[in-house]
Symmetry: C2
Subunit: 152 residues, 2 copies
């Protein structure tokens, strides 16, 4: 675990914020190096699959040349949803490190814990709450702006 | 629900079988018309996201021009895994109709039931076991061939 990688994930989230997407960012790391990164593009590309994690995972798989991402960790600013948690498990990643908990949609301990079930015989470990305030703050900025459009 | 659409999903699964992928196929239907289809391409494209359902959903979203797939049903030959169930819920699809149950990885009643939890306040309904024998048979052909390579 490394705060530097979470900072890179936050930088990805900032890119999403700048274009009006719910600001979530993710990076995939292997051997101390970022091999895939992404930010939420669901609205821009009108595609329900384009969460930050799925984009980062897809790019990491391309970099590795394998759908199996053993030996890889994913850093994400918000707790993964069901879809993204399933993707992390399917890709057999080593660790998921997330920032803010998501009590509504989180599937890594916030609402559900799909990792505890070991659905895939997986060994993905979870660390939540890393740089939690910084990760939550960017989400708060987004939702505050939506709720108070007059103040923009 | 329509057996004809499941036959189209089976035809997709046959395409996967022909190229040595685990044979799963899916079609997304809206207003009686197929707007997206896909088959498993995880091995060929070395990408953990390329399950039949995710490919079909992505194409359907492109056809509709919206990440919200309300009013759409997905027909899939095998019970969706966690990742694909999450994608179906995230896309707010109306119905998921699947063929064979998957007691190991299924997340729509076989092992888990993510749809019962209504994680997303979703209203996706599930019908399992449609043309179950036909859908299971194609999977059996694949796994029998793997287990008995000398007989090929």
């Amino acid at each position: 675990m490394d705060g530097g990688f979470m900072r890179l994930a936050i930088a990805e989230a900032e890119k999403a914020l700048a274009i009006g997407e719910i600001p979530v960012g993710a990076v995939v790391v292997r051997g101390g190096r970022v091999i895939g990164s992404g930010h939420n593009l669901r609205e821009r590309d009108k595609n329900p699959l384009l969460h930050a994690e799925l984009i980062a995972i897809s790019r990491a798989a391309e970099a590795v040349g394998d759908w199996r991402l053993n030996g890889c960790d994913i850093y994400v600013t918000l707790e993964p949803c069901v879809m993204c948690s399933g993707a992390i498990l399917s890709a057999r990643m080593d660790n998921v490190i997330f920032g803010a908990y998501d009590p509504e949609y989180g599937a890594a301990g916030g609402r559900l814990d799909l990792f505890a079930r070991r659905c895939y015989g997986g060994v993905t470990r979870v660390v939540g709450g890393v740089m939690e305030n910084e990760c939550a703050e960017i989400l708060n900025r987004f939702f505050s702006a939506i709720r108070s459009p007059d103040k923009n």
